[in-house]
């Protein structure tokens, strides 16, 4: 009885958080959902539209933008995994062996992610500018000058590299923490049994890093799917050049704020619901698969 009463009263303490969560998370999400089922005249709600706004997303002209944008999000995720998180792991391993300056180096690697992505994007457009940029000025004598952000073939890989530059400290910190949690005894025991350092890494370190990898993967996925500020600063709202850096976030921005379409509110709400459902669903799925393996 006493326990039950205590538990009952403990729920009272959840009320403020619950109210805040409802007011600032549940309510806006729900509003967005309802908006997507109405047709709009500017900011004025007109009639019930059923699935019309969703059908609009799948109409030829819009789908021509939606699919490439989604594809670029997925490519960004793949690029982030391949470049940023691999480098993050390499740095973490290297740092775990460092005898001195470990903390200083960790801070230095992590520093860029304290800077706003818009600022980072702006800095890199200046650095990579074909007219004034120092990067090409340095590379030109070597014959290695590249169009970087000016060519659709190199633009997205450049975005991946800049993202890596900014965020590599993040997987590095997570991997460092995970590495610190692996007892030395395992590796020592393996070495006593004659395992080489590659075998120790492959058979002991890597399997024990799996939970950290799952976390990094899921966070990278959410980050890549929701990216906006950096690509906006690098290629503007249309994902220049020629839409090569267009992503869902930019498409949403254009639809909601820059299209001038009378029903922009309806279409963009439907797009927002699609994005939320897609990211939420994929994350759940990813989580399932990764946790099971881990």
């Amino acid at each position: 009885m006493a326990v039950g009463a205590r538990r009952g009263s403990s729920y009272v303490f959840l009320v403020p958080a619950f109210l805040l969560y409802t007011a600032f998370v549940v309510y806006p999400l729900f509003t967005g959902l309802t908006y997507s089922f109405f047709s709009w005249k500017g900011t004025l709600r007109a009639g019930f539209a059923g699935w019309d706004n969703y059908a609009g997303l799948l109409s030829g002209a819009f789908l021509d933008q939606l699919l490439p944008a989604l594809g670029h999000n997925v490519l960004l995720f793949a690029g982030t995994m391949a470049v940023q998180n691999t480098l993050g792991l390499v740095f973490a391993l290297a740092l775990s062996r460092a005898r001195r300056g470990k903390r200083a180096l960790q801070t230095m690697f992590a520093l860029p992610y304290l800077v706003n992505p818009l600022v980072i994007g702006y800095l890199w457009t200046l650095l990579l500018s074909p007219a004034f940029g120092p990067v090409n000025a340095l590379l030109k004598p070597l014959g290695l000058a590249m169009p970087w952000l000016g060519d659709p073939d190199t633009a997205l890989p450049t975005v991946v590299l800049i993202t890596t530059w900014q965020w590599v400290g993040f997987p590095m910190l997570l991997f460092s923490a995970a590495l610190g949690g692996i007892p030395q005894e395992y590796a020592e025991a393996a070495r006593t049994d004659g395992a080489g350092s590659w075998q120790v890494f492959r058979r002991i370190t890597l399997p024990l890093l799996k939970p950290a990898m799952a976390t990094v993967t899921i966070l990278s996925f959410i980050g890549s799917m929701g990216t906006f500020a950096l690509v906006y600063a690098l290629g503007g709202s249309n994902g220049a050049p020629a839409g090569a850096t267009d992503v869902l976030g930019l498409l949403f921005y254009r639809t909601a704020f820059a299209s001038g379409d009378v029903n922009a509110m309806g279409t963009s709400s439907a797009l927002a619901v699609f994005m939320f459902t897609f990211i939420f669903g994929s994350t759940l799925l990813l989580e399932r698969v990764l946790r099971r393996k881990a």
């Binding site: 005249k41 500017g42 900011t43 007219a131 922009a264």
Partner: protein, 412 residues
């Protein structure tokens, strides 16, 4: 007790904010008209001070939102609630329609705003509701598109503004040989692409006549004349900065203002920018000629002053709108901002502006993109991207034009 005091204070505040039933003067005998817009606030203060002098009972409070990309959102939110201004700058054409459809604006007629009767029909169209054909704003500016050039670089190289197409190319060759970039143009910010395409191409497709044919579905953009017009971007590519699709708008501005480039194809608003950021560069303007001869100078209405349907001072707001449509204001606007006022019959003081005004009078045309910027995704966005792909060599001019046709067919 404290609560009671707060309640009383709140009640007092609410009463103070409540709309006054009498539209005439308030308690202090002075009413405040709030105006929202974009661009430098100092300009507004300077212009509206004149109105305050003429109308001692009115205080015009101008607020400027420098982040022009967010202005639309701020305005539509303000007008939807009670926090909106009495008057506001409105976008032209398609971007205006969401506010019109939502019923946020007061339709204006010549009874309240007599000056509207004298406005050019083409100018006024940008301030009209597409469906009801009513006028919702007093247009404030007309922008023209042309080539701006550095007079000193021209003189140093023995070049004068070209009279023929061949002369233009010869001059560009000469500049290039001297290591000067002929045209400062960046294709990375894709909104610049249709602007530059229209500067060099409008005369090729025959200006307004061609646009009327497309609107009436007698012709398509894939018409050889239009294709030839936008193909000018490809033909002039050797005279643009290297890797042009990677050069941003600001890069192009800096190329010109730093004297690395001799010409800048762009809008009249650039005169203000260069006037402030490249004070030592003496500017001139010309309309690029075509192989057939005389070129056309495209122009468009930039925006208008609209009246909030919920304004508490309707009579005063309309009186102010009437002043905004007058020649007095037109002159004030042109001389303060160095931009053409949309008010008809205003002669600019600035000699360069006067020169452009004459050229526009003689060889003016409508900027095609603003007339075809409807749809979601908007045809302007689709075509800007297609032009970028054309500049990158991924599409031919004809394919780019076909993409525009396809996009236009979704709403025309």
């Amino acid at each position: 007790m404290r609560l009671a005091v707060a309640a009383v204070a709140l009640a007092a505040a609410v009463t103070a904010c409540a709309p006054s039933t009498t539209a005439s003067a308030g308690h202090q005998g002075k009413i405040t008209l709030s105006v929202w817009g974009w661009g430098p606030e100092a300009n507004f203060d300077k212009m509206f001070a004149e109105y305050e002098k003429l109308n001692p009972g009115v205080d015009v409070d101008a607020r400027s939102f420098t982040t022009s990309t967010e202005y639309d959102t701020i305005l539509s939110t303000g007008l939807a609630g009670d926090s909106g201004p009495d008057l506001a700058w409105l976008r032209a054409g398609p971007q205006l329609q969401p506010l019109v459809e939502a019923g946020r604006l007061l339709p204006l007629d010549t009874k309240d705003v007599p000056g509207l009767a004298d406005f050019d029909e083409g100018v006024l169209r940008a301030a009209k509701g597409d469906k009801d054909g009513k006028v919702y704003g007093v247009p404030f500016a007309v922008q023209t598109l042309q080539v701006i050039y550095n007079k000193k670089i021209f003189a140093d190289n023995g070049i004068t503004p070209p009279k023929t197409y061949a002369e233009m190319l010869a001059s560009a060759d000469k500049l290039k040989a001297k290591g000067v970039i002929p045209f400062a143009f960046g294709g990375k910010d894709d909104w610049m692409l249709p602007i530059v395409a229209s500067i060099f191409g409008t005369a090729h497709w025959g200006g307004d006549e061609f646009l009327a044919d497309v609107k009436a579905k007698r012709k398509k953009f894939a018409d050889p004349r239009f294709v030839e017009g936008i193909d000018q971007l490809n033909k002039l590519k050797p005279y643009f900065p290297e890797n042009v699709a990677g050069v941003s708008y600001t890069d192009a501005q800096i190329l010109f203002s730093s004297g690395k480039a001799a010409m800048f194809p762009g809008g009249l608003w650039e005169l203000n920018f260069f006037g402030e950021n490249a004070k030592d560069v003496e500017l001139g303007v010309f309309t690029p000629p075509t192989p057939e001869g005389q070129g056309l100078m495209p122009g468009f209405t930039d925006g208008s002053y609209g009246v909030n349907v919920k304004t508490r001072h309707k009579a005063e707001a309309l009186k102010f709108a009437a002043w905004l449509a007058s020649k007095d204001y037109g002159r004030l606007y042109t001389d303060t901002l160095r931009i053409f006022s949309a008010v008809p019959g205003v002669t600019p003081e600035d000699p360069l502006l006067a020169e452009v005004a004459t050229a526009f009078d003689q060889h003016g045309a409508t900027y095609f993109m603003n007339e075809f910027a409807y749809g979601n995704p908007s045809s302007a966005a689709v075509f800007s991207k297609a032009l970028q792909e054309m500049l990158l060599g991924r599409l031919t001019a004809k394919e780019a034009a076909e993409q525009l046709d396809e996009s236009v067919s979704t709403w025309l």
